[in-house]
């Protein structure tokens, strides 16, 4: 676990579900550009944003995976998924992009109970 002051951005919507993912990632990138240490937590359907074989959406919907791949350039290397989410979606870590780490229920609740700024998307 990092220091308690890192900025937590929680993604709860799947790619192409309105613009939640895109605008959530934008907020994370701007926070990182402002020098904050950013941690991303992909919960529930939000974890689908990390699937490495995904393509662009229906015609006209921009792919979001390139933005995920870009996070490292902004020093956002804390990509977390709850173990519970992986079980519920029947997803294995091997189907997600590299660098994702899983969190137990206790670790997830610790993230939310520590005193840090949190944005939910």
């Amino acid at each position: 676990m990092h220091a308690s002051e890192d900025f937590l951005v929680v993604i709860r919507h799947a790619p192409h579900n309105a613009s939640w993912l895109r605008e959530g990632l934008d907020a994370a990138l701007v926070a990182a550009a402002f020098g904050q240490s950013v941690r991303l937590l992909f919960m529930g359907e939000g974890a689908l944003a990390l699937c490495k074989k995904q393509q662009a959406g229906a015609p006209g919907q921009k792919a979001s995976l390139p933005t995920i791949d870009m996070l490292e350039m902004y020093d956002i290397d804390q990509l977390n998924v709850p173990e519970r989410t992986l079980n519920e979606l029947n997803l294995g870590l091997e189907s997600l992009v590299d660098g994702v780490s899983t969190l137990t229920d206790a670790q997830v609740s610790a993230l939310f109970s520590q005193n840090r700024p949190i944005l939910n998307f």
Partner: protein, 130 residues
């Protein structure tokens, strides 16, 4: 205490703006300060000066404007989220060749950096979303 609000729900589609307004009134009534409201995602529609609800319904844009006038609360709107959804001020309308605009003072188009600045300045930063 200093409060800041993040509104991400559209008026009349989502209860988030109503809840945020009621929360704002409650915060001020208790003697706290409201340092600002930031509109992001579908919340940017709250700024449209063209919204025309029936006369017996609350005009949410006017309600935010009244909050600004009574308590000097800044009303910041994310420019990227707003332009994507057709919420533009006079300068952006001219820049993009549009024949009309629908965002006027006291709402201000601003960047996401303003969201972070507001969040850092506040003791409590509360999100209102669907």
């Amino acid at each position: 205490m200093d409060y800041g609000l993040l509104v991400m729900g559209a008026p009349y589609s989502d209860p988030a703006p109503h809840s945020a307004l009621r929360f704002a009134e409650a915060v001020l009534a208790r003697g706290h300060r409201l340092a600002g409201v930031f509109f992001y995602h579908d919340g940017v529609h709250n700024a449209s000066s063209l919204m025309t609800p029936p006369q017996d319904e609350l005009n949410l844009r006017e309600a935010w404007k009244a909050l600004h006038e009574r308590h000097d609360v800044p009303l910041d709107v994310c420019i990227a989220a707003a332009l994507r959804r057709g919420i533009v001020n006079e300068a952006e309308a001219a820049r993009h060749g549009h024949s009309a605009y629908n965002l006027e003072a006291p709402f201000e188009l601003t960047g996401l950096g303003q969201l972070l600045t507001l969040q850092q300045r506040c003791d409590r930063f509360i999100t209102f979303a669907s």
